[in-house]
């Protein structure tokens, strides 16, 4: 894509301006000076301060022209980034309202429409994201962006064939950092960590200096992949790099905590998680901290963190899609409120069948003693060929119990298969 249009062009400004304003519209020409070049995206620089400044500038433009789709899209993109780095979902709701306000006025505004798909995705409204991105795709089939949204949403829903198809289309149109990052994740899901690492490196390489938030995201993902291979030093280096390019990025800190935990430096890991719970609290961080506190024998501390995790999840249901996978898995892994865990897991599986949801289902069934159901769900959780440690640990425990049960049935020894209380736990 040639973005240079901002430049020189006596022109680009003109093209849309002429058509939209001067010639065909009833609106007088000079009232719409800024957003004329609608198909070219605003420059987005993504340091923390610049994200805030971009939102403020976009707000001012929207105050001047509430139908400015490009300003709304810029606002929303910055808001999505802030939601990630500040762990504040409020930004995504705000972005949605800003985009909707524009679309109410200009239903055909492409910039606002395509960004709305990304916002829905971030809110876990996967089917709505697919609907919107498909509409946007019909308007501009050659825009790789919409395939990214469509693929992301299918991935979360567990439709991996559709997701991978979308990512492949995206990469055929424009193989850039956005496409590389998605293909790396697909390779990871398929258990090909070597390819995933190489592709994620390409994604990081392809990210420009103006976008440190994306750079940090890619480095953090590289760290996560290296961690899965056991390369703790390599992972630590990537997390440190992420912190270097975007100081305070929560993904960098969470990665550093995981490395510390893997090295047995539990206190260090807990300290990082506690700080993250102060600056960018998430249920994932709370659960990871709680697991470590439990491992240390700090049961009250662990309980408090588990409670915070549950509160965060339940609070999210009030404003976002009701996704129950995380809470179901947490309860099942802790071995508490198992009936509720099963109920939540089944509820999740009615909406999505991604491998992580199916793993939660499998583990909840397992803890409920429903081995046949657990085995069936566990196979679903392994269907992409993933090497995810938690999924494989759960699966190993389930398979072991199933095998033991089969032996028990064959031999009639009367010995119960295995304890269901400790098996399948994975340190995070």
């Amino acid at each position: 894509m040639n973005r240079r249009s901002r430049l020189v062009s006596v022109v680009a400004a003109i093209v849309i301006g002429a058509i939209a304003a001067a010639v065909f519209s009833k609106r007088a020409v000079p009232v719409h000076p800024v957003p004329l070049v609608v198909a070219e995206n605003d420059e987005l620089t993504t340091s923390r301060a610049e994200l805030a400044a971009a939102m403020k500038t976009a707000e001012e433009r929207l105050a001047s022209d509430p139908a400015d789709g490009r300003a709304a899209a810029t606002y929303a993109q910055s808001a999505l980034r802030r939601a990630r780095v500040e762990a504040n979902g409020g930004y995504t709701r705000r972005a949605e309202q800003v985009l909707r306000a524009v679309l109410d006025r200009e239903p055909g505004d492409y910039d606002a429409l395509k960004m709305l798909g990304a916002v829905y995705m971030s809110q876990h409204r996967f089917r709505e994201a697919i609907d919107v991105a498909t509409r946007a795709n019909r308007i501009h089939p050659a825009d790789a962006w919409n395939y990214g949204v469509i693929g992301d949403a299918h991935l979360e829903l567990g439709d991996y064939v559709s997701a991978f198809d979308a990512f492949d289309k995206m990469a055929r149109i424009h193989p850039d950092a956005a496409a590389y990052g998605r293909i790396a994740y697909a390779q990871e899901l398929r258990g090909n960590l070597g390819a995933a690492i190489a592709t994620m490196r390409m994604a990081a390489e392809a990210t420009g200096a103006q976008d440190p938030e994306s750079l940090a995201w890619h480095y953090a993902q590289l760290g996560n992949l290296l961690l899965q291979t056991g390369d703790l030093d390599g992972a630590a280096r990537e997390f440190a790099r992420a912190e270097h390019v975007f100081p305070g990025h929560p993904f960098a800190a969470a990665g550093e905590a995981r490395v510390a935990a893997a090295r047995g430096q539990v206190d260090d890991a807990v300290a990082i998680y506690r700080e993250l719970m102060r600056t960018a609290p998430t249920s994932e961080v709370a659960i990871a901290a709680a697991d470590l506190l439990s491992q240390k024998g700090d049961s009250s501390g662990a309980e408090a963190m588990y409670a915070r995790a549950e509160a965060i999840e339940r609070e999210a249901w009030l404003t976002e899609a009701r996704l129950t996978t995380n809470l179901a898995r947490m309860l099942a892994e802790r071995g508490v409120r198992i009936n509720e865990a099963v109920q939540l897991a089944e509820e999740a599986a009615r909406n999505r069948t991604d491998i992580f949801t199916m793993d939660a289902v499998a583990w909840a069934y397992y803890r409920a003693g429903r081995l046949a159901d657990a085995e069936k769900a566990s196979k679903q959780a392994r269907r992409t060929g993933t090497t995810d440690r938690r999924i494989l640990a759960h699966a190993a425990a389930i398979d072991k119990s199933v095998a033991a049960l089969n032996r028990y049935r064959d031999t009639g020894t009367g010995i119960r298969p295995v304890s269901l209380s400790r098996a399948g736990r994975v340190d995070r």
Partner: protein, 479 residues
């Protein structure tokens, strides 16, 4: 209405503040509409005023580089294939391609710093991030033709981090010019001052051309203080012609070539077997030849498609050129009467070349590229207006860094050229954005483009324009 919008925004803002939430997993990768590392900005092709038996081909990438981009200083992408193509037969198919591939080396992997101390030579150990390039010449189709590596392990000039880190960038680090053994060719890669000059702000503020409606003001080079990344080669003219010999004169049918540049990324799929990551094929993601055609002529909705096209497919874009959208706006905004479509004059300038000057052969295929008659000697007193200024060695016969392509193309779009005599009068033939030269002077020798702005400069125009100036037709938009 505006007040209502403010209220709504305020309410929405309050909503976000009142309900800080959990973060979700957000595993999805960032969606980015920009790919600056593979984004062509400009292409230049001209006969070297330094060595007139050679042609200079330059392609720039990475628009609007802030010099102060640390800690992640801009560099070429190791995964991107950067290319400059030459058509010497007029069929819009490349006959010679120069391919640049880059590799990055980190001297000290234990630090993320670009430099760990003051850098006073190109080999200084304190320069932590280094890039090197391989230059390959391909004769025939660029993917299947005969390949010759003409240079490898050539250092790329580093980012100009700042005056403390690099107190004498040019003097200490050298020119970055590599003398190659093949035919005396020379090559360069690295950051440079963006040589394009244009009053960006005024242009986008509804075309405030300061020569219209009696308005005057100090125009600003909106790309002043920005850098780009440059690949450049200097090639004997005889190496670029179809016959392999230097043209006998400007009328020699062997004299003209077409030049364009692309960036391509490796093809990749989710289903690559084993540990393979890419298929080895490349997907063209950016393309540039004539300045402003992609920006000014090609509609926004098909730009990405155009970026992926080979020049042989440019016939599909003919309608955009014969019936461009800019002239009607000039007429609507400023009352400038322009030639009616079909604009065959623009087809000649942009797509087929000017007969007797830079048309390649007698029946060239319409395609978007810079056309250069290499037998036209460099001008001793170049005109920024190129051919319109009586300087046949200038744009649109090739393109030199100092050619004012904004003014030239504005005038061409308005019909202010000899091709459309009825419109070749003021204001059509006097249109200007008011920026006549680059913000920094060009070097007199290869690679000609100025050294990059140092990181302690912040980027952006140095000078502020007069804020009250406007040249909009006061009597209304429509004439």
């Amino acid at each position: 209405m505006r007040k209502l919008a403010c209220v709504v925004l305020a309410m929405v803002a309050a909503l976000a503040c009142l309900n800080p939430l959990r973060a979700s997993s957000h595993r999805e990768a960032p969606l980015i509409s920009q790919d600056p590392l593979a984004d062509n900005t400009d292409v230049y092709a001209f006969v070297s005023p330094e060595r007139p038996d050679r042609a200079v081909l330059i392609a720039n990438f990475i628009p609007l580089e802030f010099p102060s981009s640390g800690p992640n200083f801009w560099k070429f992408d190791d995964n991107v294939l950067y290319e400059i193509m030459v058509d010497n037969t007029g069929d819009a198919v490349e006959d010679i391609t120069y391919q640049f591939r880059f590799t990055t080396q980190i001297a000290n992997p234990n630090t993320f710093l670009y430099n760990t101390g003051q850098v006073t030579s190109i080999d200084d150990p304190d320069l932590n991030v280094r890039q090197f390039f391989t230059l390959t010449e391909v004769r025939g189709p660029r993917r299947t033709g005969a390949r010759t590596v003409v240079g490898q392990n050539l250092h790329v000039m580093p980012a100009h981090v700042g005056l403390i880190s690099m107190p004498n960038y040019v003097g200490d680090l050298g020119s970055g010019v590599h003398q190659l053994s093949t035919d005396g060719m020379r090559a360069f890669a690295g950051p440079r001052d963006d040589p394009f000059f244009v009053d960006l702000g005024a242009t986008f503020d509804l075309l405030q051309l300061r020569t219209l409606n009696g308005k005057t003001g100090s125009a600003v080079d909106g790309l002043g203080n920005y850098n780009v990344h440059t690949i450049a080669i200097e090639v004997p003219i005889s190496r670029l012609t179809r016959t392999g010999t230097a043209p006998a004169g400007a009328s020699d049918p062997n004299a003209s070539i077409g030049v364009w540049s692309t960036a391509s990324r490796p093809a990749i799929t989710t289903r690559t077997p084993g540990n393979a990551v890419t298929s080895g094929d490349f997907v063209q993601v950016s393309r540039l030849g004539m300045p402003l055609v992609n920006e000014a002529v090609i509609p926004l909705g098909v730009k990405d498609t155009f970026n992926g096209l080979e020049p042989t497919g440019d016939g599909a874009a003919l309608g955009f050129v014969t019936n461009p959208t800019v002239p009607p706006l000039l007429q609507a905004l400023f009352g400038v009467r322009t030639p009616p479509p079909p604009r065959n004059d623009l087809v000649t300038i942009f797509l087929t070349g000017i007969p007797g000057l830079n048309q390649i052969g007698t029946s060239p295929r319409a395609a978007e590229m810079i056309r250069l008659n290499m037998a036209v000697a460099p001008s001793r007193s170049p005109s920024r207006l190129g051919l319109l200024g009586g300087d046949t060695a200038g744009f649109p016969n090739g393109r030199r860094p100092a050619d004012d392509v904004v003014d030239i193309e504005l005038r061409a779009l308005a019909g202010g050229t000899p091709f459309t005599p009825a419109f070749n009068m003021a204001p059509n033939n006097a249109l200007t954005d008011g920026v006549d030269a680059n913000d920094t002077p060009f070097f007199p020798s290869f690679p000609f483009l100025s050294a990059p702005h140092p990181g302690n400069e912040t980027g952006g125009p140095r000078v502020h324009s007069n804020p009250g100036s406007t040249n909009l037709n006061p009597s209304g938009v429509l004439p």
